[in-house]
């Protein structure tokens, strides 16, 4: 592990030159995988995440089926080579917890009632990790679900906020995550409803309130990027068919 930097913020700039409310560069590619019903490759700073969605499809074993709605399954997994020291492949306690809260983050937006007895499977593979993989995973999953044509109230957008040098900052990078004072990963709908929220570190109540406000700003930025990526991809599809590709005006689909 690298050494703790003396200062995280100098003249309003962070270690990688970002301001306190700036996200790392994001690159989104839709449908990179052929076999999955929907997929998304996402680069978030130095994080590289692949998300795939299968379903709705028959859920096995049958006794796990729900007669009233689809069962959402979420698997967050880190590739053994995604971090400095190789991690043992397969489930860890950390990945089991992240998978659980990841699933919770999507249950609200997916219209599960439309597909009783089925499974909607969301798979996240972290190929390269550099702090913020669970939120990056949620963002990629959201797009993969849309790409799979799963009916949803809207997209889920996620980012982390944290505290370094006593300041609340958006989207922690590796050093800030390791040596910072707090980390708060959050996911929201476009309407600002929180579907994922965790926190560790140390924050006063007031700092947490500030963090929530900054998270809303961050999630709004992510939502715009996600929306743009979908419009670009499906505009091309439409153009290919000689159809009108003009996007609908922006709005909060989930309210």
């Amino acid at each position: 592990m690298s050494e703790k930097p003396e200062h995280f913020i100098v003249d309003g700039k962070r270690l990688d030159g970002r301001s306190v409310n700036e996200l790392r560069p994001v690159k989104i590619e839709l449908s990179p995988l052929d076999r999955a019903d929907g997929s998304c490759y996402l680069e978030w700073g130095r994080n590289k995440i692949m998300a795939a969605v299968y379903g709705p499809r028959e859920l096995h074993p049958r006794h796990r089926q729900n007669m009233t709605k689809a069962v959402v399954q979420y698997r967050y997994n880190m590739a053994a080579f995604s971090v400095d020291e190789r991690i043992r492949p397969g489930h860890s306690r950390r990945s089991i917890e992240i998978s659980k809260v990841g699933r919770d983050a999507f249950e609200y937006v997916i219209f599960t009632k439309f597909f009783p007895k089925t499974a909607i499977d969301i798979f996240i593979e972290v190929l390269q990790a550099d702090a913020g993989t669970r939120t990056a995973g949620i963002n990629a999953a959201s797009l993969a679900l849309a790409d799979a044509g799963i009916p949803m109230r809207g997209l889920v957008s996620a980012c982390a906020v944290g505290k370094v040098d006593g300041e609340i900052v958006l989207d922690l990078m590796k050093e800030e995550d390791n040596f910072g004072e707090a980390d708060v990963p959050i996911a929201m709908t476009a309407g600002g409803k929180i579907t994922h929220l965790q926190m560790d570190g140390n924050l006063t109540k007031e700092e947490f309130y500030e963090a929530l406000k900054l998270a809303k700003i961050g999630c709004d930025k992510v939502y715009k990027l996600q929306r743009q990526a979908l419009i670009e991809k499906y505009s091309k599809e439409c153009a290919g068919n000689g159809e009108d590709a003009s996007p609908e005006p922006e709005g909060d689909a989930d309210e």
């Binding site: 592990m1 020291e85 306690r93 950390r94 089991i96 917890e97 998978s99 659980k100 809260v101 919770d104 249950e107 609200y108 708060v184 709908t189 600002g192 409803k193 929180i194 579907t195 994922h196 929220l197 965790q198 926190m199 560790d200 570190g201 140390n202 924050l203 006063t204 109540k205 947490f208 309130y209 929530l212 406000k213 809303k216």
Partner: protein, 272 residues
Amino acid sequence: MGKTPAPSRKVMQMSDDVMAEIHRDYLFNLVLKGERDDGRAFDEFRDISIETGVAGMAEGSALVTLGDTQILVGIKIQPGEPFPDTPDVGVLITNTELIPMASPEYEAGPPREAAIEIARVVDRGIRESKAIDLEKLCMVKGEKVWIIFIDIHVLNNGGNIIDAASIGSIAALLNTTLPAERYGLGEDSPLPVRDIPVAVTAIEFGGELLLDPSLEEGKLAGTVFTVITNSDGSISGMQKSGIEPLTIEQAMRVVDMAGTAAAKIREKFLEV
């Protein structure tokens, strides 16, 4: 021993989920009137009792009851190797066992999702509050440190295991001895504990926020939100789970309610 369980309990044992669903409208209408099934206020905890030192072979222990929930937390400490990436600090390992004794829903076997989540949230509070000075638990850098095991044994699931487990864990740690003599490493001493983190869990039900959900309330809740507060009122951990969302205002209100409730619990049960 000749004691017949109340009929409602007997039915409860058939399926907690089904009974909770049957009671949904009843509990919902109560909440609309500002009431709860057991007569508590929305921000009121059930009765708490803590008995420490109940497991004699453990370095520290606490039996906690929170309403019907009973949890025994045992602390074992032994010397061992540090993790390679943190060679100069002690090791803290938290585990939760949802044993089949505690609920007809639990099955034997390795910890699953629910147990892992509980253990990790309790661990987060103790670790992030820095209640235990792990740096002081290093004996030889890179070679020998104290390893602290917190084992949370749920005996009876009456709802809100996380808060009971959090209270039990810190109560047990406050009562823990570092067993140096046994390993020929000097004299025994009390484990230094610097802070008293307390987890407080709220659910959203019927548009209201309810603290310390009972078993049925917890089953019906769409959102479960745990906030862990330290002695100085700062926050050291949070976890939202459940399939319904939380508004920003609700999150802020829970933080407020949790801080107040945690301070009361700390003052009444955990301050030495």
